[in-house]
Amino acid sequence: MLDALAHLGRAGIGAIRRLGRGHLLAASMLLGSGEVLRRPGLLVTQLHSVGVLSLVIVGVSGLFVGMVLGLQGYHVLSQFGSAQSLGVVVAASLVRELGPVVAALLFAGRAGSALTAEIGLMKATEQLSGLEMMAVDPIRRILVPRLYAGFLAMPVLAALFSAVGVLGGWFVGVGLLGVDDGAFWSQMQAKIDFHEDVVNGVVKSLVFGFVCTWIALFQGYDAVPTSAGVGRATTRTVVHSSLAVLGLDFVLTALMFGD
């Protein structure tokens, strides 16, 4: 009985400690932000591995999500005789929700896990300690460029996801199902507001980009330096980032569209 209680307490203390370490790491990464300006080359390399290499998965997923939205939306809307609003349905759901959220989930799986594994292995093979021995701050040199790369790449990926998705929905709706081309675009333009919808979507993806990358970097930096530890940390990255994205999405949506 007491053992169980102690176990619970230990788990709770561990979780709170991890939370504290995570925030300390975020603070020291933000304090070391100047490194990005001093060495833009590091940022470019990371943008390549985090952003450019995620392009294919994000683009293909966006296309298919848009096409499915076109099919499903047409099916429901045609029952009400308003298949012409298909453009609004596809664009609103992509720009407001699916673009930022699904792109962030894919980002967490594709780039976040890779970041965690990379940093975790650097720790396990004592490369991070090696850097410290040479008086190079691993946080500034290794973590900060990756954080900013994720922060910058995420909105780009989300915007691409939405744009490709709208084109996918257009292809299915106009090309295959025979919705009127003019009505598809004009209703979309009439109902989607740039500030209300598009900018809010970009703000969402900025938040998701920061949070996903932060979680990935922290899990790698905080990993138990063994192969099993790195494996567990990678799993935790995907689980925690996905939960954080979905939870934050609700909070942000309530703040943006709640009134």
């Binding site: 470019v44 450019v52 664009a91 990926l157 915007a159 333009q189």
Partner: protein, 156 residues
């Protein structure tokens, strides 16, 4: 060095693609290209009942959108709705005795303000009020009226 250059080109293309996508969303998907906000002049109209008219609803004349609803207020003195319309400045010859109606686009569509031009030679200027208005049709009221008439007719 060659590899670094390839990476840089890749990242440049990536950023350009992202900006292109955002531009596409701004111009093609959203309404940024249509009717630049803030531009135009204001007209006021008082309605007995605006139904479910919303801010940003279209203002049309002969079916063509010429502006948007900018503000909807409740006037406590006359118990009427005070609707401020923003009309694009190129449409500056709206007769003074123009009639403002609230219509519904289709059976389930949104409500919008439709202007019927009058015959006056005087034109409305910024800040003027449309004198002739017709309230929104509220479906319940019409059905109520219909049933009432029916009952009254049946009694005779």
């Amino acid at each position: 060095m060659q590899r670094q250059r390839l990476i840089e080109i890749g990242v440049g293309a990536f950023m350009a693609l992202g900006l292109l996508a955002l531009f596409f969303l701004a111009m093609q998907v959203s309404n940024l290209s249509a009717a630049g906000s803030g531009e135009g002049y204001h007209l006021k109209a008082r309605f007995q009942n605006i139904g479910s008219l919303k801010v940003r609803a279209a203002v049309t004349m002969a079916g063509v959108p010429i502006g948007r609803v900018e503000r909807i207020e409740f006037d406590q003195d006359s118990y009427e709705a005070l609707v401020t319309l923003r009309i694009e400045s190129r449409y500056d010859r709206i007769p003074e005795d123009t009639f403002a109606n609230i219509f519904t686009a289709g059976l389930l569509g949104e409500q919008y303000v439709g202007l019927d031009p009058g015959g006056s030679d005087e034109y409305l200027k910024d800040g003027d009020t449309l004198e002739h208005t017709q309230s929104a049709l509220v479906l319940e009221q019409i059905i109520g009226q219909f049933l009432f008439d029916k009952a009254a007719g049946g009694g005779k």
